[in-house]
Amino acid sequence: MHATETFPPPLLALAGFSKSFAGFKALDRVDFSLRAGEIHALLGENGAGKSTLIKAMTGVVQRDAGSLRLDGVEIAPRSAEEAVRAGIATVYQEVNLAPNLSVAQNLFLGRQPTRFGLVREGEMRRRARALLSEFGLAIDVSAPLESYSVAVQHIVAIARAVDQSARVLILDEPTASLDAHEVEVLFAVMRQLSARGIGIVFVTHFLDQVYAICDRITVLRNGRLAGSAPVDELPRLDLVRLMLGRELSEATSRRPPASEGEAPADVARFRGVGKAGTIAPFDLTLRAGHVVGLAGLLGSGRTETVRLVFGADRADCGAVEVAGRAVSIGSPREAMALGFGYCPEERKTEGIVAELTVRENIALALQARRGALSPLSRREQDALAAKFIGLLDIRPPDPERPVGLLSGGNQQKVLLARWLATAPRLLILDEPTRGIDVGAHAEIIGLIRDLCREGMALLVVSSELEELVTYADEVVVLRDRAHVARLSGAEIEVSTILATIADAPASLAAA
């Protein structure tokens, strides 16, 4: 954990970085250092603060506190442009270039070689070819960037950054949409840059890639530094533990197993349901009064699974049976007609309608199911709102308040209320306790247990493994967009889940 901190001086050193957004601490006194020629993995789950840290060090957002030194010299870039000039370049997952311009134009945009004010196209193409050949890329530089694969586009973006005298290169999830071969090409480029003494910050969700290429790992969790170590001192299991953390101190009593003897009715059975490129075909059985938990790292296919279950994405294979009948689920509307409900992970973009009131947000799904022509009367809506505000203790208890003004936990309760109002047979909760305060955590977990007792089937995605083990009857572990294990009964332990998540696939274990 404490390697050579002082000698040689780090290329880039961040100390005490803090950033708050509207009272929420996105970064809390984070330290980070990068040496020349180092490939440094920056890891963490959603909301851990990775993007904020990158934005704060490149001047895209202004930090509240902290110092930034490049080569021992204090710098304070106020925009991405200033950061590039100082020597810190970022290549985002969505390549930030002009897809309709040629490769050469993209490489030299804003700094084209000119003569008498005119762009020297020939000179620019020649230089572009020379630059890309350093990266082993021999392509037609006059073709538009968009005519090339994402991998090539990334390399072009990297070449542009490096050519602008970058000393520090930040790669934000560059491999998310690359296939295995393209990843190898990108890694070759990264190794070459590292040999030249450029420091690389590598953000990814793929642990295999971290162990394949990185020298050092820094993990953020909830805006804080969770740990930092050379890669060979941090085995997979420890890494996963660092990423998912173990903070919940409150007693985690297992819920009593569902009463033996009577087999609970199957609510829905999914057989071989999957979608190419999104999630490998899986089997899933959901029973009344049972909670199935989905565990895995970000990007492992948890959200993808529940979106197929709810019809938000269309499966391209497999069969679904609901209450013994074969059905097809092609849209959320069809899923709702079958008695499904879904609280998505992205509460703000996919859940609440911020400017509508609490009452209207609660009524929305029920109203959608009834159709526009049989409106809930104002009195029915008021009754619905009053019932759920009381039941879920939504605060402030004002049904006419725009839901965007509520806290995260209360917005989550409003979403739960929206679905509970439809009295679903199956409720899907994607990260129901993310981004909400501890008190609301406990309430929502209590609610999940109550719902389960009342015979609702639940499918819950959660990164909070300590919470998951307290209410799940079965835990499906996902890795690399596939369901890899199914745990039940005594197997449901945080340590077992962590070990299963961290298991390296046999084929890669040697590497």
């Binding site: 973009t349 911020a354 209207e360 959608a368 199911r369 159709g371 049989s374 409106p375």
Partner: protein
């Protein structure tokens, strides 16, 4: 916020009142109303009569804008439907004429709706197609001439009166009442506001966002058709080149003045119609004042600027203190 208005809409109604009073100052006979042949006459009545077409357009436009869309084609649709009505007026009975013209408006709206909802074209581009092509279609219908008619039945829709009120005003009020019934009497209004506010969340909550999108463009087409019929009936003819020219911009302006954000979400049909009458009151006032009519465009520009500044999240707070049209300044900052 410095000033808290008691409820939404006060600002618009105050603004309309102020403009009417200003008109009265430049033209003391402004509020004089005469009764002649059982019909009310006077400058005030004129404001409502002249403002009817834009008010009709704004009824459809407000729903489209609430869904985060925009309909640039309504002026051209007016021209098409006006041309159809004028061409058929002397050879067919009124119901046939109306059915043909309204049917054409419905088809135009359906075309826009399908481009937006099914093909996923950006609304501004999708409706630009018909905005440009529509005027050509209208010219084809009138064969490049200004078509005139003499049918008293159709003329009644432009120049007649019902219970003393000019028919265009009655038609506008009727259309507004019908739209309010359809939108607020059902759950459609909630669904439109939810979809405009957050389309992805609304689709996941099971709302048929695609169907509603088509429906609002169809309704906008119908409103434009009615506006086109009124405009043709008023001048006893159809001028494919000039009927409804630039009125789509007035309609959008009316909606914005009425406090509906171009980002979609919350909307008010009533205030959009008030917005249309505010615009017409300005037009009439400038005519009465004896200023050259060109000043009208400058005044309009100032009003647009004021409204947009008031909606801007950064300036809204400052301008609110001035008591200008700002009822939406708060929601202007909702999405940043």
């Amino acid at each position: 916020m410095a000033v808290r208005l008691p409820r939404i809409g006060t600002a618009q109604i105050v603004a309309l009142g102020l403009i009417l009073v200003a008109n009265w100052i430049v033209s003391p006979q402004f509020f004089d109303i005469r009764v002649q042949d059982g019909r009310l006459f006077g400058s005030l009545i004129d404001v409502f009569n002249r403002g009817a077409p834009v008010a009709l357009l704004s009824i459809g436009m407000v729903l489209v804008i609430a869904m985060r869309g925009i309909d640039l084609s309504v002026g051209a649709v007016m021209a098409i439907c006006g041309a159809i009505a004028a061409s058929l007026a002397d050879s067919h009975s009124l119901p046939v004429v109306l059915a043909a013209a309204l049917g054409a408006g419905l088809l135009c709206g359906l075309w826009n709706g399908l481009l937006v909802a099914v093909l996923g074209i950006q609304p501004i581009v999708a409706t630009l197609i018909l905005m440009v092509a529509g005027r050509g279609i209208a010219q084809l219908i009138t064969e490049g001439r200004i078509v005139t008619f003499t049918s008293p039945d159709l003329a009644f829709l432009g120049g007649g009166s019902v219970l003393g009120l000019p028919t265009p005003v009655v038609l506008t009020l009727g259309m507004m009442a019908l739209t309010l019934l359809l939108v607020r009497g059902t759950a459609l209004g909630l669904m439109i506001e939810a979809t405009g506010g957050n389309p992805r969340a609304s689709a996941l909550a099971g709302i048929g966002t695609r169907l509603i999108t088509v429906a609002v463009y169809v309704w906008s087409g119908l409103c434009a058709a009615l506006a086109g019929i009124v405009a043709s009936a008023d001048i006893l003819g159809a001028d494919a080149n000039n009927a409804g020219l630039w009125l789509e911009l007035d309609a959008i302006l009316a909606v914005v003045i009425g406090g509906t954000s171009l980002f979609g979400g919350r909307f008010s049909i009533l205030l959009a119609v008030v917005g249309a009458f505010i615009i017409q009151a300005m037009n009439t006032g400038i005519l009465l004042s004896g200023f050259p009519p060109e000043t009208n465009l400058v005044v309009k520009a100032v009003v647009v600027l004021t409204v947009l500044l008031a909606q801007s999240p950064r300036l809204g707070g400052h301008l609110a203190g001035l008591g200008v049209l700002f009822s939406r300044s708060k929601s202007g900052g909702k999405r940043r």
